[in-house]
Structures are given as structure tokens and as C-alpha cells.
């Protein structure tokens, strides 16, 4: 029992060192990005004839309520050349009829390109007017399957994968395409930041006034998202070890994704799995490449507001991470894959996948040890306090980094109201999340193993709908 307590202590020290290093790397990455971002960068990208055209692919399943606003907002994105491809994934509601009516679509005869596999396409629609929109109606096969269909029908060399119910800021496409403009041959994928939109004022698929949510569950998720994007992704991006480009918003080079075989439909973690395969392919090609996180293009998403839906989401995320590692065991610790093999994947395995087990068992064993006298209760209490304080330090470090990046990059604030109150609330929730929420999420993540064993699927995400957010 004593040995296990020592193990947990050492584990915690390594965890602390890794995450402190990631925070420092994130700071380096964001400063580097800031030094490259010039007064004229965005405008030059928007006007450049060398800016690669982009196909924006939005899979939609039963999205009839907000789909029209979402598509209008996507068509209005600021970018020299882009097309919008909506893939109706066998919706059982009136998604396709709503689209046909709103955009005056007509069915066209198009052979299905065979580059990546997906479920059968039932029909392809195009607007009668000159509008860069294509609607694909296919049999239900899930998000990954829909993205594959979108890739097949896309005309352009880059594609942007988004959720149909997420919202992109007007300049998000330009900002996320900048790495491709700066370095078109080496950049393989880029992703921006995903922010929680709950509570914000949204009109016609556009963010009008960002606000913080009133409820606790999405507030906790705001702290988690800040930690994930500013504490981890920016850090991994600095060493080209990024493993995740969020499924809600990511830009990819189509030729490499097609070579990789597109999205896998047999895993719930298709976003992380694809990025891992891209690393694999580029290393195999022996070509210099980069997969980058860009800290200021914003995608707004609706976070779960109930513990039931959040539990399902976290179990799924954990299952996705486990599946990805099981699909690519040879990459873990493999020096051939540089930072990905030697750093990102081992950290994913040891601290993300196994972390919940170690932490929960640590709580249990230390409690038993303290009760049986094998461990001094005050030592246990102080260790617990140190662990909580360190978690808090990471959260506040990420908040500080986010705050600095907003000032440096003149980015979108979480709220347009007086910032002090918002900042106070975020800091407050960073403290509160350690008192129950964090432990609850750990339990759900452990349940992810059980779901993995059972081979669970996506499950339904119950959304109130961003477009329908009360004003």
C-alpha cells in the first residue's frame, strides 16, 4: 500500500512537470504566432490569388431547426473562394426539405467520386442560383461517414470539417488558412479554438454578443476548454506534436487525408484518429510537415448543459482516445514519429487514458491508508491540497494565457460585458471544479473503458440549438 502511495506521488510529480512544460511551450507558441501576425496579414490573405480555395463540409443530422441559418452563416464567411457542402446524414426530420426550400435547390446527377468510402448517396442537390453550395443526401452512417462523403464531393484542395450546429466567426476561415498560405507545402492541418456559446446572444447563425452561461455545468466546461486549448494544444503545436484537431472545426489538406483513407467510421474518436494517421503518413513520406493549432480563429459550440449528456460525451471522448491508441500501438514511444511518438502519445496514454484510473485509485488507496494508519492523515490531506492547488495553478495559468492572447491578438472576448465579473466567475469556477466536478468527470472517463469493452457508439447529443438561443 505504501509503495502505491509513493507511485501516485511520483506520477503526480511527472504529471506536474509535463503540464508545466506544456504551459510554457504554449506561451512560446502563442508569442511566436503573435510575432508573425502583422497588420496586413489577414487582409493580404483575403485578397491573395494564392490563397487555396476551401470546401467547408458540414455534416447534419436532424438539424432542421437551425440548418438554414448555419448554412447562410457559412456561405457568408470571409474568404476569397470557398464552397459549402452540407451532408445530410439520413436525418429523420425535415432537414433536407428545409434546405431545398430555403435555397431553392434542384436535384442534379453527379457520380459519386470513389476516393474515400461512405454510405450510399441518395441524391445531390445544387441551388438554381449561383451559390457555392452543394447538398448531399446520404444514408445514415455517422459524422465520420458524412465527412467522407463531403470529401469525395469537394472540389477544392483544402477542406474544413465543422459541426453543422457550430458557428464560425466571420474571419475564422481566413485565420485558420493562414498557415496554409504561409507554408502551403508543409502544412497538413490546422485547427482553431472552440469556445462555449451557451448563454451568448446569437442571431441568424452569428455570434452577436458573447456572454458567459448562467449554469454551472457549461461554466466548468469553459475552464476545461481553456485548459485544453491554451494549456495543451498550443503547447503540443509548438513541438509539432499535436494529436487533436477538434472535430467541431479543423482545416485539412485533402490529398493527404484521401491518401490516409479518410475518416474511420469504426471509432468514436475519428478526429484524433485521423490526425494520428496524418502524422503517420507524413513520417512515412519522409516529408517535412506541420499540424498546427492557431490560437485565434474561433468556433462557437454548444456545450452539454445536463450531467446526463455530459457524461455520455466524456465517456465517448475517453473511448475515442483508447480506441485510437489501440489502433496505433506501434506509434507509442516510437522515435520514428518524433514528438508524437516520444511525447504526445505517451502523455496521452499515461496521463489522459490511464490518468483517471490512477487518480481515482489514488484517492481510494490513500483514504484506506490514512484510515488504517499506514499513512499519516495530515500528510494525505496536504498531498490532496497540493494536488488541488496544482490543478488550480494549471487552470489559472491557462486563463492568464488566454487573457494575454486576447490582448496580444485582439481576439474575441468571452463576454462584451465588464470583464471583471466574467473573469471573477471563470476564476471561481476554476476553484470550484476541484470540489466534485473534476472527480465526477474522472468517474465518467473510467466508464469510458467499460463503454470501449462494450463497443458503444456515439449516442445522441441533446442540443437546445444555437440558432434558437433565447435573445
Amino acid at each position: 500500500m505504501h509503495a502505491y502511495v509513493v507511485f501516485v506521488f511520483v506520477y503526480f510529480l511527472v504529471f506536474a512537470a509535463v503540464h508545466a512544460a506544456l504551459l510554457v511551450l504554449a506561451l512560446v507558441d502563442i508569442r511566436r504566432y503573435r510575432s508573425r501576425l502583422l497588420h496586413s496579414s489577414l487582409r493580404r490573405t483575403v485578397r491573395s490569388p494564392l490563397a487555396p480555395p476551401i470546401s467547408v463540409i458540414a455534416p447534419a443530422y436532424n438539424e432542421s431547426v437551425g440548418i438554414v441559418d448555419s448554412v447562410r452563416s457559412l456561405l457568408a464567411l470571409e474568404y476569397p473562394t470557398h464552397e459549402v457542402i452540407v451532408v445530410n446524414d439520413g436525418s429523420t426530420d425535415s432537414t433536407i426539405e428545409t434546405l431545398v426550400e430555403a435555397f431553392d435547390l434542384q436535384e442534379v446527377e453527379r457520380p459519386t467520386p470513389p476516393f474515400v468510402e461512405h454510405k450510399t448517396v441518395r441524391a445531390v442537390y445544387e441551388p438554381k442560383a449561383r451559390l457555392s453550395l452543394l447538398v448531399i443526401d446520404k444514408e445514415n452512417g455517422g459524422k465520420a461517414d458524412s465527412l467522407n462523403a463531403g470529401i469525395n464531393f469537394s472540389r477544392y484542395p483544402l477542406f474544413c470539417a465543422i459541426d453543422a450546429d457550430s458557428m464560425l466567426d466571420q474571419d475564422a476561415l481566413v485565420k485558420s488558412a493562414m498557415p496554409f498560405v504561409e507554408d502551403p507545402e508543409r502544412t497538413v492541418a490546422s485547427g482553431g479554438i472552440v469556445r462555449v456559446a451557451n448563454g451568448s446572444r446569437i442571431e441568424h447563425g452569428r455570434m452577436i454578443e458573447p456572454r458567459l452561461p448562467r449554469r454551472a455545468i457549461p461554466m466548468f466546461q469553459i475552464v476545461e476548454y481553456l485548459r485544453a486549448f491554451f494549456g495543451a494544444r498550443a503547447g503540443w503545436s509548438a513541438v509539432n506534436g499535436l494529436l487533436i484537431i477538434s472535430g467541431a472545426f479543423g482545416l485539412f489538406r485533402k490529398d493527404v487525408v484521401v491518401e490516409a483513407g479518410g475518416y474511420r467510421t469504426d471509432t468514436v474518436g475519428e478526429d484524433i484518429e485521423l490526425v494520428l494517421r496524418l502524422h503517420r503518413i507524413m513520417r512515412r513520406r519522409k516529408q517535412p510537415y506541420r499540424i498546427v493549432y492557431v490560437p485565434d480563429p474561433v468556433c462557437w459550440t454548444e456545450a452539454p448543459e445536463s450531467t446526463r449528456v455530459l457524461r455520455r460525451q466524456r465517456r465517448r471522448w475517453h473511448q475515442g482516445s483508447c480506441e485510437t491508441l489501440l489502433l496505433h500501438p506501434g506509434m507509442i514511444g516510437n522515435p520514428r514519429y518524433r514528438a508524437v511518438g516520444l511525447l504526445s502519445l505517451p502523455v496521452l496514454l499515461v496521463f489522459e487514458v490511464l490518468g483517471p484510473v490512477v487518480e481515482l485509485s489514488g484517492y481510494a488507496v490513500a483514504t484506506v491508508a490514512a484510515l488504517t494508519g499506514a499513512l499519516n492523515p495530515s500528510t494525505f490531506a496536504i498531498f490532496l491540497l497540493v494536488a488541488i492547488l496544482y490543478g488550480l495553478l494549471l487552470s489559472i495559468g491557462s486563463i492568464a494565457l488566454e487573457d494575454a492572447s486576447l490582448i496580444w491578438l485582439d481576439g474575441v472576448r468571452l463576454t462584451t460585458r465588464p470583464r471583471w465579473r466574467a473573469l471573477g466567475r471563470i476564476l471561481g469556477y476554476a476553484v470550484l471544479e476541484n470540489l466534485g466536478y473534476r472527480q465526477l468527470v474522472l468517474v465518467w472517463r473510467v466508464e469510458g473503458f467499460w463503454q470501449l469493452a462494450r463497443g458503444g457508439g456515439w449516442g445522441a447529443m441533446e442540443r437546445r440549438g444555437l440558432a434558437a438561443t433565447p435573445q
Partner: protein, 334 residues
Amino acid sequence: MSDASVVATLVLIIAIAVLVLLILAQQIVHRIKRRARLVLRPACELAVAEYLADENASVPPPPRNNREHVVLRQVALAALIELRGRERARLTELLERTGVVARTVEELAARRRTRRRRAADMLAEMRSDQSRSALVAALDDLDAATRLGCARALVELGDDDSADHIVEVAAAEADTSPGAVGDVFLGIAAWKPSLLGEAMSSTSSRGLRRILASIIGELRISDHTALLRVALTDTDDELAARSARGLGLIGDDGSVEALTQALGDARRERRVRTAAATSLGWIGDRRALASLRTAASSPDWAVAAASADALVLLGEERGATRPDTEGGLTVAAA
């Protein structure tokens, strides 16, 4: 262990407190600066607008402090994007006479490279003759991004004397900063398109040739079609694909033969063959019909689809040459 834990606890509490104070300090400083600028900005915008609206208006007084200087520069840069001709020249003159250009030129010698990069970028917007010599000197800056920023600024200024130096600086970074080099050559294409041809024919850099092929094609610079035709036969497939697209965009019917050869060359990568097929469709020369018909039944679906689309542009009916999906699937999977 207990003592160590207590020390760790204290260290963490102090670190958290420092971070929170850092966030607060950052916010306070940001707010003070922002508020001051918001106060100054309307008056500055009004002064600039009045100056631009009235040809006889006198130049507003120069900024009295750094804050006013920053605000005037921000307002002017935002306006310069929209202005053309005489109004633009007058605003540049205002920046010169109020000392904004001189201060920005001073920043070209700053210790921090970020400041130097930004100064070069802003001087490119200002296009002031006052900055010319400083920009030429900064073409030898230690930082590549600053050098390229200065090169772009000199292109915007149309500095004939340093044209060769600009091309040399840009060409040297073609492999490391292709995007910024592309920006410089896009400017050169509008200023002295002949330099593009010279650079394309003299360079051995694969990266630079790719960039130049794209620019010549996308800007449809028909004077350089001969260079694109040569590049189409290059062993570098990326260069060949870009050249094929460029020839199609220009609509060069003299390259139909070379494009049909590229289309039919099975050793070529898919991207070259599809670009060749697409370009043949754009050019619309019926001499390509036979090759396109053959390619429309190619086992490579992408080539077949591009050829089928090109045939439609040449007047064939869609459907007569639909690619074989099953065959394509085999090729794609392979």
C-alpha cells in the same frame, strides 16, 4: 515529506496569487491604454477626415506623445487600406509631416525583431519616399521576415534601383517562407512583371519556381506562357501541375499539345494529369478531344472525372463519358 508538502503548498499558493495578480495587472494596463486611445481616436479620425476632405486644409499638428502617435498611425493605416490616388498620397504626406513615418522608420532598427517586422509591414502600407533608404538598408536585416517585409515595402514603393536586391532577398527565402515570398512576387507582378520571367528562368530553386508558376498562372501573365510550357515538362510534378493550371487559366492554345502529352503520360502523378485535363477544357481547343476521350475512361477516377468535365466544356454531352466508379475505387484504394 510533511515539510516538503508544506513548502510545496506555500509555493503553489504564491504562484497562484502571482498569476491572478498578473491577470489583473494585465487587464488594468490594457484597459487604461484602451480607454486613452478610445478618448483620442474620434478627434484623430475627425482631423484626418477633415484634412482629406479639404485640399486646402493645413496639416494637423504632430502627435504630442507616444499615445497620440500610436492612435494617429492606427487611424491612418486603417484609412490607407481604403484610399487610392490623390487622397492616399495626401495621407502619406500627412504621415511624413507629422513625423509618423520617421518614427516608424526608427522602429526598423529596434532590438526586438517583432517590432522590426511590424515596422516593415506598416511602411509597406504607408509607401513613403522617406522610408526608402532605411528599407533598402534593412534588406540585410538578420531576421528573414523583416527582410521580406522590407522587400515588399520597396516593391510597393516601386524602387527601381533595388529591384535586383529585392528579387535576390525574396528568392533566398523561397523554401523557408513561401507565403511571404509569394506576397513579394505578387507585388513584383503588378510592378515589373518581366522580373518574374527573369527570376523563373534564372533560378534553380524548386520552391521559387513553384511559387512563380502559380503567380504567372493565377494572374494570367500571358507574356510568360513559354516559361510555363517549359515548366510543364519538368520532373517536379508539383511544378508541372501548377504550370498546367496556369496555362489553362491563361487560355494558351499553343500549349494544347504539351498538355495532351501530360494528360496521357501515365508516369505523371494524378495532380498533373487532372490539371492538364481541366486546362484543356478551359482552353476549349477541339484538338484535345481525342486525348480527353481516352482519358475519360482512365482507370484513375480523378483523371477520368476531370477529362469528362473538360469534354463538357468542349461541347460533348455529360454522361456519354461518365467515369467508371468501380474501376476508380480500385485505383483509389490502391
